[in-house]
Amino acid sequence: MSPHLSVWRWHITMATSIAHRATGVALYVGALIAAGWAVALASGPDAYAGFKALLGSPLGLLVMFGLTLSFFYHLANGVRHLVWDAGHGFDLKSANASGVFVFAFAAAATIAVWVVAAMTGAL
């Protein structure tokens, strides 16, 4: 069974792989929330207001923050996978460097989006 957590020393390419799956599963829940949003919108003003209040609650905002982080990580690491699939950047040095980059990008993009959200009245 993979990943062989008890066999391999912890390293960044392993962390990026595990995080890609974990964030993918988190975004699965996020997409179900998005489907809930669409159904609430189609159900009328009351249902929509209720849904917005739920997402705007402290717990809702925490979930949205986690989803933002998951999204930007999965996006950046997904592009990293596409670059690998195209046959580039698969040597150890490049893979380690791009691994550090995707974690940094996810953190920076998440903060940027939440700053924009706070400035545009989205919170």
Binding site: A34, A35, A38, L41, A42, G44, G78, V113, A122
Partner: protein, 130 residues
């Protein structure tokens, strides 16, 4: 003894048998489409979060917004079904549990995706629940 069967004939039924490539490419093309669509989705969430119900209805009624939202949702649910399918195939090795989870994953993604797309189209065509 010389066999008259072609290599393809022997491979058929034993694995992907030439369907694997299109499956693999389809997953990648879907992922590439999601790069611009999901970035637009972040923009959409920021706009919609700042507005109320009436704003959301008028926003979704715009043809470009409706089409992009439908594409985003449909391709996302398909991408999710493919991704979680691989996770189940990797970690679950009991045949019945594996089959049940694979079917559950497909049904959840299919149902939620269909509900989401239908809801967007209903609002886009009908202008909300008036």
């Amino acid at each position: 003894m010389v066999s008259y069967r072609t290599p393809l004939s022997r491979a058929r039924g034993l694995g992907a048998a030439k369907h694997g490539v299109s499956h693999w490419i389809g997953e990648r093309v879907g992922a590439i489409a999601l790069v611009p669509l999901t970035l637009w989705g972040v923009f959409a969430v920021l706009r919609l979060a700042a507005g109320d119900y009436d704003f959301a209805v008028h926003w979704i009624a715009q043809p470009l917004n409706a089409v992009l939202m439908v594409l985003l949702l449909a391709i996302s649910f398909w991408h999710m079904a493919s991704g979680v399918r691989v996770i189940i195939e990797d970690y679950i090795h009991i045949a019945l549990t594996k089959s049940a989870l694979l079917i559950l994953n497909l049904f959840v993604c299919g149902l939620a995706g269909a509900l989401a797309v239908f809801s967007i189209l209903k609002v886009a065509f009908g202008g909300g629940a008036y």
